[in-house]
């Protein structure tokens, strides 16, 4: 690996982890689409700040972006509170408007300088190492890395300091309010954090893929774990894995790094969606099959129990009668009986089915519960 390659991967990891941390709270608070709104709308703030400072790496841009993010959230809530449009429509009206103003400003007035819509929308991580940070004449690494590292630190600090408050405000906002935790303040602080992270990340991965890094790893983690602290850690880890794997996929295809990172993050979700223990599609399918067999077993035992020792038992309690009586496929009936016999719940004498003691106990348990 060459030095720029290492640097790109480091930046990618820091970006991914920075996004995954606030993203976890967005996913849990059902505000995932707010990241979409914010990451688009901050273009407006970035462009305005850029016209003032004429410098894309100015810290002033970060402040402007944070303000725009909070402005977006406030506008959405203002629209929502008029009662004229619902929340989803309010989001869908607000960010395209702000984003459009941003795009038009860029297209008309910034065309000659280094700020074009493609780089804002799509980002270009491959160029990040060219912009170096020098301290007292020494080159200490790419600027983007230090910027994102600061933002990551900010995210980690915020979550560590307000962990208890965030947790309660996320899972029980009214109780948090009763305790005086100011859920409203936390809400806006979180939104500001999302905006700052988005502006730091947009240069590297572009505004739409910020959404991928904020939503995909936490959603995947949500399928895997049940504790908030674990979910944060797993999201960050998945983000970092997507970053590194995404880089190498892009390297192999000579394609967009940010796009590959998002694709890998999506792929990881796909794997979890299929195979997550207890929650994936495979687990769900297996559970359905098992439940079908368990239910069939219980049906068989209860059926035998009902007719046990009665005159009609000769007719009812035999294998050929089961498909008719229980509406089973004959082969399915055979397999159910075979399983029951193997488990020692049923035995066959003179082609009649009899319950064993444990079979009778199971049948009674199935009926009484």
């Amino acid at each position: 690996m060459t030095a720029p390659q290492v640097e790109i991967q480091l930046i990618a990891i820091v970006v991914a982890v920075s996004c995954a941390l606030p993203g976890t709270f967005l996913v849990l608070r059902r505000m995932a689409m707010m990241s979409d709104a914010i990451s688009h709308a901050i273009l407006f703030g970035i462009v305005l700040a850029f016209f003032v400072t004429r410098d894309l790496t100015s810290p002033f841009l970060v402040v402007a972006a944070a303000l725009t993010g909070v402005l977006t959230v406030s506008l959405v809530e203002l629209l929502n509170r008029t009662g004229l449009v619902r929340e989803d429509a309010a989001i869908g009206l607000t960010f395209p408007a702000l984003f459009s103003i941003g795009v038009i400003l860029v297209a008309r007035y910034a065309g000659s300088v280094h700020l074009d819509t493609d780089s804002v929308l799509l980002g270009e991580l491959a160029f990040a190492p060219f912009n170096r940070l020098e301290v007292m004449g020494y080159d200490i690494g790419p600027k983007a890395f230090y910027l994102m590292a600061c933002i990551m630190l900010l995210n980690v600090l915020f979550i560590a300091v307000f962990y208890k408050e965030l947790k309660l405000a996320t899972f029980d906002a009214s109780l948090a309010g009763v305790f005086g935790f100011l859920p409203g303040f936390l809400h806006y602080a979180l939104m500001a954090l999302v905006s700052v992270t988005a502006v730091g990340a947009f240069e590297a991965v572009g505004s739409i893929l910020v959404v991928a890094l904020m939503i995909a790893p936490p959603t995947t983690a949500y399928l895997l774990v049940d504790r908030l602290s674990l979910m944060l850690a797993v999201s960050a880890l998945l983000g970092a894995v997507s970053a590194v794997a995404g880089y190498w996929v892009a390297h192999a295809l000579d394609a967009s790094i940010a796009g590959s990172m998002a694709s890998v993050a999506g792929l990881l979700f796909g794997v979890a969606y299929l195979a997550a223990p207890g929650r994936g599609l495979v687990a769900i399918a297996l559970r359905r099959v098992r439940q079908r067999w368990e239910f069939a077993q219980a049906m068989l035992l209860v059926h035998l129990y009902n007719h046990e020792g009665l005159p009609e038992a000769v007719r009812e309690n035999r294998l050929p009668n089961l498909p008719d009586h229980l509406k089973w496929d004959p082969r399915f009936a055979e397999r159910v009986v075979a399983t029951a016999r193997r488990r020692g719940l049923v035995e066959t004498r003179d082609s009649l089915l009899f319950l064993t003691d444990s079979g009778r106990a199971t049948a009674m348990e199935a009926m009484v519960g």
Binding site: A89, L93, I215, L253
Partner: protein, 375 residues
């Protein structure tokens, strides 16, 4: 007038205007259903998810024909939407997360494919990236014909199942109980929505196409409470913004079509939110003001009535300061007295105090009577 002459004389402008009008109408109609069903952001997901479809269609066929790319876009948008629904149905992942996930991951994948295509050693890929922000000026008559035919088909289907869609929007449970195939209607509505979004991608671009779905419908909702009227108004708004934005963008250098159309839509939405009769913010404010004045006036009349009842002489005058003291909490005494005097219910006595006229007395008695009968 010169502009209108240009519009009808200039082939490019006529093509662009016609195309934008078609897709404005179709998206206005379908958007109404999406907004009413709280699926406003679905349009965002569909349009972003369409990107890999466009790239794959080009990679597989090597063709840049509009219909081929649109088919790819529609397929990808459709798969993305069904994926969102399946994730929500099968896991505990919430709707918003599933939407954000599918939207961004599909877009990312599309980007990988686009950048991969751009680095291929063939020159024919140029122009695919206009799908990001849209370029109205590149619309050809052939494209407009495609948009028109697809749009017409969508509108005819909506007309054919109008009653079913109406039920689906407002009371899906009732519709189910009547035996309508809700699941299939749902899939049909989504397929139509996908189609209507996809035909706008070339003009408006994937990034902003969602506004084309949400904004006309959200604006139209303010003007009416009837579905039929809402759909018609929404189609009109869509066409208006589409044509306006596309033409302005085509006539001005360095003004991308998508954002221009979105700003036109935003203006329409703002006007609707403020000024629409009954629901608009200004209207509501005016109505509240009228009601407040009415209540204040009645309260002052009632105060005078109470004072009159406590005096032997019903025509005895009462100074305004007494009324002001009594009206703490509602205010507006001077204005109310003026209104009452104009209506001939109160009069100013010789010493500058206020008393009820005989008509005022009976009116106040009637009002207080109806009040006492109240619950």
């Amino acid at each position: 007038m010169e502009f209108l002459g240009d519009l009808f004389g200039n082939y490019t402008l006529r093509t662009v205007g016609l195309g934008a009008a078609f897709l404005g109408i179709v998206n206005g109609v379908l958007g109404s259903f999406a907004v009413l069903r709280r699926q406003s952001l679905l349009g965002d997901a569909i349009s972003h998810a369409a990107l890999p479809g466009i790239a794959l269609a080009f990679l597989l066929t090597g063709s840049k024909a509009t219909i081929v790319l649109l088919l790819g876009a529609a397929a990808a948008g459709w798969v993305g939407t069904l994926l969102v629904m399946n994730i929500v149905k099968n896991t505990r992942v919430k709707y918003d997360s599933a939407l954000g996930l599918v939207l961004s991951v599909f877009f990312g994948f599309g980007l990988v494919l686009l950048t991969y295509i751009q680095r291929m050693p063939v020159a024919s890929q140029a122009g695919l990236d206009t799908f990001l922000f849209g370029q109205a000026a590149t619309l050809l008559a052939r494209d407009v014909a495609t948009i028109g035919i697809l749009g017409l088909a969508v509108l005819l289907i909506v007309l054919a199942v109008w009653k079913e869609f109406k039920l689906l929007c407002f009371d899906p449970d009732f519709a189910r109980s009547l035996g309508f195939p809700i699941r299939w209607l749902d899939v049909l509505l989504i397929t139509l929505l996908v189609t209507s979004i996809v035909i706008g991608l070339q003009t408006v671009g994937v990034v902003l196409m969602s506004a084309m779905v949400v904004a006309p419908a959200a604006a139209a909702r303010q003007w009416t409470d009837r579905l039929g009227a809402m759909v018609a108004i929404s189609a009109f708004f869509g066409a208006l913004a589409g044509v306006g934005g596309a033409l302005v963008s085509s006539l001005t250098a360095r003004l991308p079509a998508g954002p221009t159309i979105v700003l036109c839509l935003t203006a329409i939405v703002l006007v609707s939110l403020l000024a629409a009769p009954n629901r608009g913010v200004v209207w509501k404010w005016a109505r509240e003001r009228v009601n407040r004045n009415l209540l204040q006036t009645e309260a002052v009349l009632a105060d005078l009535y109470v004072l009159a009842m406590r005096h032997e002489d019903l025509g005895h005058g009462h100074p305004i300061s007494v009324l002001r003291t009594m009206s703490i909490g509602h205010g507006g005494v001077d204005r109310s007295l003026e209104v009452l005097r104009e209506r001939g219910l109160v009069r100013v006595t010789a010493d500058g105090t206020w008393s009820l006229t005989p008509r005022g007395l009976s009116e106040a008695g009637r009002l207080s009577g109806t009040r006492e009968e109240g619950p």
